[in-house]
């Protein structure tokens, strides 16, 4: 028999008051000392990596996390240093960031905006993360970027390709290394002209959300400028799995090109269905029917299997870049070696962008001599660098978008092994994919000013 006087209500009350009491000083103390949120006080600094660990993009999230862990290892002086040795800025010395050992916490975005915000909030408030990075969806990136701006921490975006991330939803505390829909279209247009000519009729299938809309707008504008006609733009639900009902109308639409503005599982299914309906062998308007996938990833190529053969698209980076296109893309081989030796396979473009973002943040803090977000923003704005695998790159001050070469790829017809799924067709130079800050596709919204929080 128990003599305890505890009641359920009593325990809950006491617990919640004690919990709130314990949590409050942690948050306030973390925020208060040096005039900005989560100023590191001990001998460690905590970074928050917010990636999809469940849901349809979990494999991409896992690859991002591998890259983050590798970057942290290298920053702390373990491993072979990876791209730190090729990075044009030489302030990182393997002793952490400004002498503080780098620690990290991870969150699961679930590829849902609300879950991603909740996990980022928890990492900022509970774990004292001073920078948030990662993500594999533009919806998530825009949501988390907004949260980081309010909380006064830096957001180094992972895989996000919508124009809006550094367009109408740009924020002073947010930075994107990955390329965007406009750049994909600008890079693809000359290659499409060269491969398929100027007299084409395109049919678009588009995922019905922010990324799909900006991708469709960008590629339609770029191909129409070549002289192509746009026959139809059809929005498909993000939750769709069988695209046969959307592919069937393409057959007799008079189109001779199908543009799939789909990503991830959507793209794997729509491409598989398009190939099943014979579109790869079809003749239309006296020409071979072609399929274009503006945004490519290695994981999507793997999911699509042999259906990806011959399909043209664009990437932010490819692990074969330095071997095939030379020293301009220095850093690629160093990163592939570190990553490949640790994990047994080459890194994806998502991994490369996350690794680069972590080094860029650490470098900016060190150059600024402060963890204060406003100092970091100042150090990153207009920063020109090289040696991170993409060639000479600029972090533009006006919108916090990186400007660098874009890789145009094509699914390989006869891959030699499971990593050899895409071939590099061309690398489009930065000048061809650069646009003014006030370009209509990026208008609306303002960068605002940096928020140090606290």
């Amino acid at each position: 028999m128990s003599n305890s006087n505890f009641t359920r209500r009593g325990v809950l009350k006491t617990g919640s008051i004690a919990g709130a009491g314990l949590a409050l000083p942690t948050y306030l103390s973390a925020a208060a000392h040096s005039g900005f949120t989560n100023a590191p006080t001990g001998d460690t600094v905590t970074l928050g990596f917010n990636v999809p660990q469940s849901g349809p993009y979990a494999d991409e999230g896992a690859d991002e996390l591998r890259a983050f862990e590798l970057a942290v290892e290298h920053l702390n002086g373990q491993g072979d240093g990876g791209m730190m040795s090729t990075f044009s800025s030489k302030v990182l010395d393997g002793t952490g960031i400004m002498g503080k050992k780098v620690d990290f916490v991870t969150g699961d975005t679930q590829t849902k905006s609300d879950a991603a915000r909740a996990s980022a909030k928890s990492m900022i408030e509970k774990d004292g993360a001073i920078m948030i990075s990662g993500g594999s969806s533009s919806g998530v990136a825009v949501a988390v970027q907004g949260l980081c701006q309010e909380a006064g921490v830096i957001f180094m975006a992972g895989l996000t390709h919508s124009n809006d991330t550094t367009g109408k939803d740009k924020k002073a505390n947010g930075f994107r290394h990955f390329f965007n829909a406009y750049m994909s279209a600008a890079a693809l247009a000359p290659v499409l002209e060269q491969l398929y000519g100027t007299d084409r009729r395109a049919y678009h299938l588009t995922a019905d959300y922010t990324w799909g809309w900006t991708q469709e707008e960008s590629i339609a504008a770029a191909t129409e400028a070549l002289g192509w006609d746009t026959v139809e733009k059809v929005r498909t639900p993000l939750a769709a799995t069988d695209f046969s009902s959307y592919i069937a109308p393409v057959l007799n639409s008079g189109a001779d090109v199908l543009v799939l503005n789909h990503y991830g599982g959507n793209m794997v299914n729509s491409l598989t269905n398009a190939v099943q309906f014979g579109l790869r062998e079809k003749q239309a308007n006296g020409k071979n029917f072609e399929i274009v996938v503006p945004l490519y990833s290695e994981l999507m190529a793997k999911g699509a299997g042999r259906n990806i053969a011959g399909i043209v698209g664009s990437q932010n980076w490819d692990w074969k870049l330095e071997n095939e296109k030379g020293d301009r893309y220095a850093g690629t081989n160093a990163f592939v070696k570190s990553f490949g030796e640790k994990y047994g396979f080459p890194p994806s473009q998502a991994a490369q962008t996350c690794y680069a973002q972590t080094l860029l943040y650490a470098d900016a803090v060190t150059r600024a001599g402060s963890f204060n977000p406003c100092a970091v923003v100042e150090a990153l704005e207009g920063f020109e660098f090289d040696g991170l695998g993409n060639g000479p790159t600029l972090y533009r001050a006006g919108d916090h978008q990186c400007f660098k070469d874009v890789v145009v790829v094509r699914g390989k017809e006869n891959p030699e092994n499971e990593f050899d799924l895409v071939e590099i067709v061309e690398v489009t130079p930065t000048e061809q994919v650069t646009y003014p800050v006030d370009h209509p596709m990026f208008s609306g919204g303002a960068l605002g000013s940096c928020n140090p929080g606290a």
Partner: protein
């Protein structure tokens, strides 16, 4: 006109998958009175049976080839599938090519066993509980099953191709007097429709023409009386659960070449199949099949650009609109028994 025929074929094809899953769902509801929300997961596991057979057949011996290098510059590893070493390159390649049809043989015992384990191990404890409890426990089970699959196979879709001979598409239009290439339809989707028709026919024949089926039907109509006659109806219902699981699994095996299997494909089908069961009439097998094809065809037509121009977004809600109308006007569903879901 060509578009209407194409979308009709698409509807039959979608309807085949809905009908097969709904058939199993309604078989379980009709016999055991359980609303099995883990049924979509059984469909998904069926598809992963195809993936597994493909993986088993491609298990390989690995030797280093010093003349080639891998991405790190080390000697490349060359894999040769065991089946090619054992049966010769041609026979081995043919076995790998036909891995999806072969997976049917592999999937039947696995799915029946899984159905038994699910029913005896978990679901039987919930027979006397309210439907809400049954839905919660089976939904929870579905999440567990899909996370197990994700842990083993990853989240990315896994391409599982149809045999080479079924990879192209068939010029259907020429047969009915249209221009060449006006109506072409993938071979495998036609195979899927034929397969669904055979399975549906087999289930009906089993229930209609065997003594076992007759007892089961009697049990569905009046469980107590059949029990009073000294027949162990529970055991027969457990077997029916196994059969329903096998039907869902086979639907999944054959679906693998249509869309690369991934761990959440079951959930994508589950809700729609549940709506199909409700529209067809809870517990009515012909109702499930009829509603499966009907909703598949309606969904296909609603995706036509001409229809969407008049009703934007109709393709995303058509099934639910029909379900609402049916529930409001005929709560027991198209072919439901009088009294079921009407109290």
């Amino acid at each position: 006109m060509d578009q209407i025929i194409l979308q009709f074929l698409n509807g039959l094809d979608k309807g085949s998958a809905y009908a097969l899953i709904a058939l199993g769902l309604t078989l379980i509801f009709g016999t055991l009175g359980v609303v099995n929300f883990a049924h979509g997961a059984l469909f998904m596991i069926g598809a992963f049976c195809a993936v597994t057979v493909q993986r088993i057949l491609t298990l390989s011996t690995v030797v280093e080839d010093p003349t080639k290098t891998d991405f790190l510059g080390n000697p490349a590893k060359i894999s040769t599938p065991y089946v090619e070493s054992w049966f010769g390159p041609e026979m081995g390649a043919a076995l790998i090519d036909w891995s999806v049809p072969l997976a049917i043989v592999f999937a039947i015992p696995i799915m029946v066993a899984l159905g038994f384990i699910m029913e005896r191990g978990l679901i039987k404890h919930f027979y006397k509980r309210p439907h809400a409890d049954q839905i919660l426990v089976t939904f929870g089970l579905a999440i567990v099953l899909q996370e197990v699959i994700k842990a083993f196979y990853g989240a990315n879709p896994i391409p599982t191709g149809a045999p080479e001979v079924f990879r192209g598409s068939f010029d259907f239009g020429v047969l009915i007097g249209f221009d060449p290439n006006a109506i072409i339809y993938p071979y495998w989707r036609m195979v899927y429709f034929a397969f669904a028709a055979v399975i549906i026919g087999a289930v009906f024949a089993f229930l209609q023409f065997t003594t076992f089926g007759m007892v089961v039907r009697a049990g569905m109509a009046d469980r107590e009386t059949v029990g009073l006659l000294g027949i162990n109806i529970d055991r027969r219902f457990t077997i029916m659960f196994g059969i329903a699981a096998a039907v869902a699994g086979l639907a999944g095996v054959m679906y693998a070449p249509i869309n690369s299997p991934n761990y959440h494909m079951g959930m994508d089908f589950l809700v729609l199949s549940f709506v199909v069961v409700v529209v067809g009439g809870m517990g009515s097998l012909p109702g499930a099949v009829l509603a499966g094809f009907l909703l598949g065809i309606l969904e296909a037509f609603a995706s036509m650009n001409e229809v969407k121009a008049i009703f934007p977004g109709i393709d995303q809600i058509i099934i639910y609109v029909v379900a609402i109308i049916i529930i409001l006007t005929r709560p027991r569903g198209l072919m439901g028994r009088k009294g079921v879901m009407e109290e």
